[in-house]
């Protein structure tokens, strides 16, 4: 019983994207929720199959961009109109056409930054340590193998039953993952 509590989950190995996709669908149909799949390249529909629908990332990027643009313009306006207005080539202090390029660049800058950082944040990266790394075969997840993980925390999880269930799905192998 003790080692059972120590179990993080069960990791099933497949050799083709179609297989793991199918497995994921069936597992979810079977009522499993706390699952994840690991593949050497993005597999169409896998995330959806695992019940993951839409990400907030686009919103974050939009906000980042808006912030950047606003910041840029505010800075220029303050510097050129409010703080130290200077006569430059007979142009008015608030010569907005000249401000456009800078505002554009700041917009892109912050949007791009929020895209990458947002992605990392939502993915909870960096996470150098993860239980699945315990499984020696998992190294192949970055080569040519496809894995489906069902976590022990899943209410429907039962070491024996789940293992059997996974083997029925046609896994090439099922491994226990220590926490």
């Amino acid at each position: 019983m003790t080692e059972r509590r120590e179990l993080y989950g069960l990791l099933a190995e497949f050799h083709a994207p179609e297989a793991v996709l199918e497995a994921a669908r069936r597992a979810r149909a079977a009522g499993y929720r706390r699952m994840d799949a690991y593949t050497p390249f993005p597999v169409e529909g896998l995330a959806e199959a695992l019940g993951f629908h839409r990400t907030r990332l686009p919103l974050i990027v939009l906000l980042g961009g808006l912030f950047g643009g606003a910041l840029g313009y505010a800075l220029l306006y303050y510097a050129e109109v409010v703080d130290y207005p200077l006569i430059v080539g007979g142009k008015p202090f608030h010569s907005w056409p000249a401000f456009i390029p800078i505002v554009f660049e700041t917009t892109i800058f912050f949007a791009a930054l929020s895209a990458v950082l947002g992605m990392l944040a939502l993915n909870g990266l960096p996470m150098p340590y993860h239980p699945v790394f315990h499984v020696p075969r998992f190294a192949l997840a970055s080569r040519d193998r496809f894995f489906l993980l069902i976590e022990a925390r899943d209410p429907k999880f039962d070491p024996e039953a789940t293992r059997r269930f996974l083997e029925e799905l046609g896994a090439d192998g099922v491994w226990e993952v220590e926490p």
């Binding site: 960096p126 340590y129 790394f133 499984v135 190294a139």
Partner: protein, 219 residues
């Protein structure tokens, strides 16, 4: 494969990312602060002088007017540092033998100037004119601080450009009636803003945008 990293690294990694952000912020803040700190600006640092001349004594206790020594302050860009002669007018009688004043007497004998240490030293590309400031009601103490409280003089303003601008942009906050320019003990009886606005009009002080033209100070 086996784990490469220890559990703890997860936390460390995340923390260090946030940490570095704070670190950079902190570094910039420190730089900015340092640049305005007495260490750099020497504000409030009493400067050693070859002769321990006390403004406190001469101004407060003896009540000598600034112009007695700084003679050209009203007609020249340079306020003037008193000649040895000026010192000797009194000190040939008073404290005529004081060891503290030996250097002064020596200078008088040998005709060699006294090497004072500059306290207020503008960069060579900045042109400041005392006469016009005095004329427009900028008091000595406004920039030089409570000189009458200084045994050895220290710098009481950063002389940073931003400091100059603060007054050139809003002279009304700092100027006072001409007659009180050389007074160390003067305080406005009315609201400074009110007074300032009136004086700006009276003394025909230029508009801020004119006062902040580059060539006003840089040539």
């Amino acid at each position: 494969m086996a784990q490469i990293f220890h559990r703890s690294t997860n936390v460390i990694a995340k923390v260090s990312i946030l940490g570095s952000v704070f670190l950079i912020a902190a570094a910039t803040w420190v730089l900015a602060a340092l640049n305005r700190s007495p260490y750099v600006t020497q504000v409030g640092v009493a400067r050693e002088q070859p002769v321990p001349f006390s403004h406190k004594h001469h101004v407060k206790q003896l009540g000598i007017d600034c112009r007695y020594c700084h003679t050209s302050v009203e007609e020249s860009r340079f306020a003037g540092i008193p000649s040895t002669e000026t010192c000797m007018t009194c000190h040939s009688q008073i404290h005529a033998t004081s060891p503290m004043l030996e250097l002064v007497r020596e200078s008088w004998r040998t005709d060699r100037p006294i090497p004072w240490t500059r306290v207020y030293d503008l960069p060579d590309f900045v042109y400041f004119d005392h006469s016009i400031h005095v004329k427009k009601g900028v008091a000595c103490v406004t920039c030089h601080g409570p000189v009458d409280e200084m045994p050895l003089v220290w710098k009481s303003s950063t002389l940073h450009m931003e400091w100059c601008l603060s007054c050139h942009r809003q002279p009304e906050l700092y100027i006072r009636p001409r007659e009180y320019v050389f007074r160390t003990d003067w305080t406005p009886h009315e609201d400074q803003r009110e007074l300032g606005r009136r004086l700006v009009r009276e003394y025909a002080i230029d508009r801020p945008e004119k006062l902040t033209d580059c060539s006003v100070c840089h040539r």
